[in-house]
Symmetry: C2
Subunit: 343 residues, 2 copies
């Protein structure tokens, strides 16, 4: 159903774009391709909460779910502009597509980069506006619509705040504290990826307020747990499963719970200059990994992820959260955590 | 009242931002400064239409007006990111502010540029989201709110479409046709600057449909007239009044009605290589101006602006548009046009 919503939305947008001009159609197609590659984890949370809390208007729920997918696209596309990345999920992103096109047309590299960045800025704007637009196809009482809009606003507000801090940290050589790292990841990613979709799905289903609160709290801690798990997998995971090179995060010096803990250990001096080094080799990465294990950072991060997952689940044990919903969310979360321990 | 709305909005946003982190507060302050510099022409059109069409809830109208000012900020900030401009209205823009800060902190130029661009992308996103958020403070029936949201959506849709084409034209050496130039300027600027604010103000005032239609048509042609006038002033205007150097547009080779006409004249060969040249001197600019006069381009552009202004005004002569509103809009428009003839 979510795919249908997205497809309908893009079909309509492309029709309107082509009426403006043919070049504009191309930008919408690029946005559609960028959106097609997602794993739909946010829509899945919206639909899950909605269905299990007794919602019956699945067509409205699908519009809500699609709105979070477009928000996800907007944030990824602008993130890539900020990080000057031209590839996402192994294929050219919006900027990469436009850059390649300009290069093929014989433009010099700087002009081609610029064509790419311009397209990325504009496609992200379209996606952001589309997230709001999709909310308006929802059939619901005015008070519910108002809350859904507020949740979307707050999610954007929080993500941008987290991104600002993330950029700030990446520009200072010091390793931020664990608390700063966790809070930044929460603001940048968890709010819009976990809290907001669950909250919005529950509110559209007219769930009682304590259930909405319980799901929001679940989303908060689950988001932190996922983020830490993701960081551990980014270093110790299997390339073919994560879709990233297994030392990209290390080479980039990405600020993670793993590294923040390691930076407090005496062993840190052995790897401090390797982490964040552009010339990192596979052998360097292997060495860094072994130190992250021996200094206890890996275990620490896994324990922290597990603790947050347990906290998340605890919040689901409140009155009114249906058993089936609780069990599904628990299963989703623990499949990620148990995956960690096998690394 | 619009200033009060904006001030309240930013005060609330800054409070919420500081709760996220201190760095985030800085970004909101930068957005507030960027928004403070505007001439408020879009809010003025909203308030004018609303008041003259019998609206009485000025606090809601002010929120609507503030929404268009934030949209204006969003588009300018992202436009500057795309154009790699770090200055706007003679002072550092959001990106310029962050770039200077990074330079003062001792970062290398490329890193400082990047800090600037990142802040610009994020501040524009906040402004875009804020435009939607402000619409929700409006007290109005659900159907009116729905339409106000649709108008905002369509304005963003159109602006991005115009920007896409504008970028496309700036990357090809050929001068686009007059029709292409006019249509692009309409999509990029007139829709959100003229049509949408008038339309939205009228709809919030519950004006009859024919009046909304008449104002929309006025906005369309007035926008084209203003755009051409602006282009003429950009070349022949007084620096201290326009706030731009009087040959910035010529050096940039900005695609305007003026140049599009000139490109069809035999005299064009005399100035074709000067226009768009980075090394243009004051003397070169003076020479280009004299050719634009002698080949008839200046007169042509002034006539075209005047014709569009007349068309615009004609649309106000429909039943139901109050005399006072018609006279005010006429006066606003013709003060710009008559200014042209004195150049």
């Amino acid at each position: 159903m979510v795919e249908d919503s997205l497809q309908r939305f893009f079909a309509d947008a492309k029709l309107r774009a082509v009426a403006v001009n043919a070049t504009y159609l191309g930008l919408w197609e690029a946005l559609e391709r960028a959106t097609a590659g997602g794993k739909r984890s946010r829509p899945r949370l919206v639909m899950l909460a909605y269905r299990q809390l007794g919602g019956t208007d699945f067509s409205s729920a699908a519009e809500l779910a699609a709105s979070y997918e477009l928000l996800h696209s907007a944030l990824l596309i602008h993130d890539d502009v900020i990080d000057r990345d031209f590839v996402r999920r192994g294929i050219p992103n919006v900027s990469g597509h436009y850059r390649s096109r300009a290069l093929r047309a014989g433009e010099p590299p700087a002009a081609a980069d610029h064509a790419g960045v311009s397209a990325g800025v504009l496609a992200g704007d379209l996606a952001l506006s589309s997230a709001y637009r999709l909310l308006r196809s929802i059939e619901a009482p005015a008070s519910v619509r108002q809350r859904l809009n507020d949740i979307l606003d707050d999610a954007i507000f929080s993500s941008v705040g987290g991104e600002v801090l993330d950029i700030e940290f990446s520009r200072t050589p010091d390793m931020p504290s664990l608390e700063d790292i966790t809070r930044t990841a929460h603001q940048k990613t968890s709010v819009y990826s976990f809290e907001a979709p669950l909250q919005a799905g529950a509110i559209l289903a007219a769930a009682p307020e304590p259930v909405v609160t319980a799901l929001t709290a679940f989303g908060r801690y689950a988001g932190i747990a996922y983020q830490i798990a993701d960081d551990v997998l980014g270093v110790f995971g299997n390339e073919s499963r994560t879709g990233k090179t297994s030392w990209g995060d290390l080479r980039e010096g990405k600020r993670t719970a793993l590294l923040s803990y390691a930076a407090t250990r005496p062993e840190w001096t052995r790897i401090a200059t390797l982490v964040g080094s552009q010339d990192m080799t596979a052998a360097d990465a292997e060495y860094v990994r072994s130190v992250l294990v021996s200094c206890g950072a890996k275990n620490y991060a896994i324990t922290l992820a597990t603790e947050n997952a347990l906290l998340a689940v605890m919040h689901l044990e409140s009155d009114g959260v249906p058993d089936a919903l609780r069990r599904t969310l628990e299963r989703m979360l623990f499949s990620v955590i148990s995956d960690l321990s096998s690394r």
